[in-house]
Structure formats: C-alpha cells, structure tokens
Subunit: 213 residues, 2 copies
C-alpha cells in the first residue's frame, strides 16, 4: 500500500522547545521520521514523504523513498495525493512523529482493510494514521480531527474502523511524551534520545525525564 | 478467567480535584469501575473487586460480583490473591479507572495467553492490566511499574507479551484525560461526564474540556 508521511521539515516539534534546541529538534524529528518509514517498509508497504522543504535522510534502508516537496497546508497536501483511493487501491497516511511505531503497529492499521476508512486516533482528539479506501473521503487535520474524520466518513457513506493502538496513538509533541519513547521505543528516536543524555526520572511521584550534565 | 479489579473506595481520583468535588469524584470513579466490570463480564470472564472499603454497585448486570475488602497496600492486596497462577489457571488484574475500556480490549488482554505474563502498559510507565500465568510472578505497582514488571518477569523466567492498546493504556487520572473519555468512551463513565455538564472545548489550540454553568 502507498502510505503518505507528511513531514514539517523547517521548524519541527516546537513544543519540545523547553528541552531541545532547534538543531536538536530537527535531528530528533528526523529520527522519528526514519522510524516511521522503516516500519512502513518492514510491513511491506511503500512510504512517500510529503515534506514542507527538501530533505535528505542518510539511511541506506530508505534509499528510493520518494520525497515530494509541498508547502501547502498539511490537509491540502495530503488530499492532493489521495486521488481516487478505493478498496482496490487504498492510500495510507501516517504522521511522522510516532516515536513508538513498529512494523506490527503498521500492520494493525493496514490489515483492517474491509472498512472505507481506518482511523488510528491520537491522544487529545487527533488523528495519527488513516487508511483511505473510499474515493470521496478527504482529510481535515485541523481541530478535533478524530471526530471530524468520523463525520466526514459518515457524510460520504464510508464505513469506519478504529485501530486501538497505544503505539499509533502516541505522537510525540511535548516533553512528557519523551517518557513513552524512552520506555517503549526501540528505534532511531529512542537511540537519539539516549545518546543525547536523556533518561527516565522516577524520583518523585510521576515519571519524568531528566538530562544530567 | 478470574480477573482482580483493585478499587480505592475511600477518596478516589484525587488528581481530578481541580474539576470534580469529592462526591463527584466518588461517583465518577464508580462509573469507571462499572465500565471495567461490565466489559470483563461481557468478555466472558469473572471479575472480583478488591476494595479498600465496602461498596455497593447499583447495577443489575453486576449482581454477584464479589467484593473483597482489603486495606493493605495495592500490590500486597493483589499478590495475596494471585495464588499459584499458572498456564491452566491464569489470573488477570485490571485497574478500575479505564474510562475507555471495552469487551474487545479485555479480550486483547486475555487472548494473549501463550505468555507467562501479559502486560498492558499505562501512560507514563504504569501498568494498567496484567494476566499472570506463572506461579512465581508478583506485582509491584509502585514506581515505573511497567519496567519493574518486565524485570520481575525476567527474574522468574516468565515470557512477557505486551498488549498494544490505547484503550487499556488510558487510565483516567487528570483533567486532560477526560478528553479521551468524552471522545472515545461509550459506557457509564462517558455518560456520567456528559450528564455532569462536561463537553469538549476545541476552541483554542489543544483540545480541552469545559463545563458551562
């Protein structure tokens, strides 16, 4: 299956600013992107990056992954590429900041192929992944997109299936999300964090992160 | 399968204090408990409440669910009841504050029965559900319990399987967690919240909750 991976290449992950500087955010965001792409390839699918600016990924496993540069807003850039997705030629969309993604999690998304639209919700009302198999469905990532995508599917008469996955629901936006990457991630993003000096801080009450000097 | 459901009956969900008073927290916690018990029963299993104080659940569907009162700390109260769990007679544990739980989510936990220990992680390093099928395994809910439970399993030679479920990973502790209940819950807890006046607040940036007067 063709799977679009939108990527903010210019100034990614601004909400991680309290713990990572701009260069670090760029590097960490690319590590998560690599994990997403590698998981898609390992699950037997064909990723396609849709980036806001040109980018190079120094990773042999990803040679040949196409990068389309598109400075339109996210939803428009995705919708321009959905084409006439249908049950024969579904198109997937997976966001680039899933620091816990695995090939098995990608398979849970793509195996649910009897539905017109498969949705993997993110925390807080977002949508972290979709499979679109209905030619009239269009994405809208603005606002409470999980609720909106269900409504759009209803409007065009597409059956919806929801994938219940912690790994797909965990997009990494804020410092507290780094706890999940350190605990459950096993790819480039988790490695990057550890090499940057981050570790779990289980000291006081809730689990956090710390970065000893 | 016998499934233990520990419940703090005296002063539950204190971190919801900013949005719910003590009586409301007691009522909402009992609504989530009911959802957990009903889902376990619907999945074909036998729940057993382990509560810190006596409680009555006014729900016909739950007549006959046993309530053991035990004022020991949580881990000790659970361990006292694991007995000699093994592959023939595994014992489950599901926390009582899973506002998104469904029978299908319970089945994902209990179907993974080839392992010595099945773990459903919670956000932030916690453990929200387990199936124990190894006689030497004991729980320890203090600290980063997901990591600790993996270590305990390794120490006693029990295989571990991790269940990747957003519904099982979402324990409801803080006001921001109520967003998930309003979006994805379809049981007593979601109904209670709506009847108490809560609704999604999608107005500004991140999705939140509000409670109009």
């Amino acid at each position: 299956m063709r799977i679009l991976v939108p990527f903010e290449a210019t100034d990614p992950k601004t909400r991680l600013d309290p713990v990572l500087d701009a260069d670090e955010r760029a590097a960490f965001a690319r590590a998560m992107l690599r994990d997403v792409l590698v998981s898609i390839v390992a699950a037997g699918h064909d990723p396609e990056i849709v980036a806001t600016a040109p980018l190079a990924l120094a990773d042999d496993r990803l040679d040949g992954v196409p990068v389309a540069v598109d400075d339109e807003p996210l939803s428009a850039a995705v919708n321009d590429r959905l084409g006439d997705a249908d049950a024969e030629t579904p198109v997937g969309v997976v966001v680039a900041d899933l620091g816990l993604v695995t090939p098995a999690a990608v398979e849970r998304l793509t195996d649910a192929d009897e539905a017109g639209v498969v949705i993997a919700p993110g925390r807080g009302g977002g949508t972290n992944a979709l499979v679109v198999a209905h030619p009239e469905f269009r994405v809208d990532f603005h606002g409470v997109s999980y609720r909106d995508h269900r409504a759009i599917a209803r409007d065009v008469g597409a059956d919806v299936r929801v994938v219940d996955s912690m790994r797909l629901s965990t997009d990494v936006d804020e410092p507290s999300d780094l706890v999940e990457v350190l605990l459950h991630g096993d790819g480039a993003a988790a490695t990057w964090l550890r090499e940057a000096g981050f570790e779990l801080d289980a000291g006081a009450g809730r689990v956090g992160i710390r970065r000893p000097e």
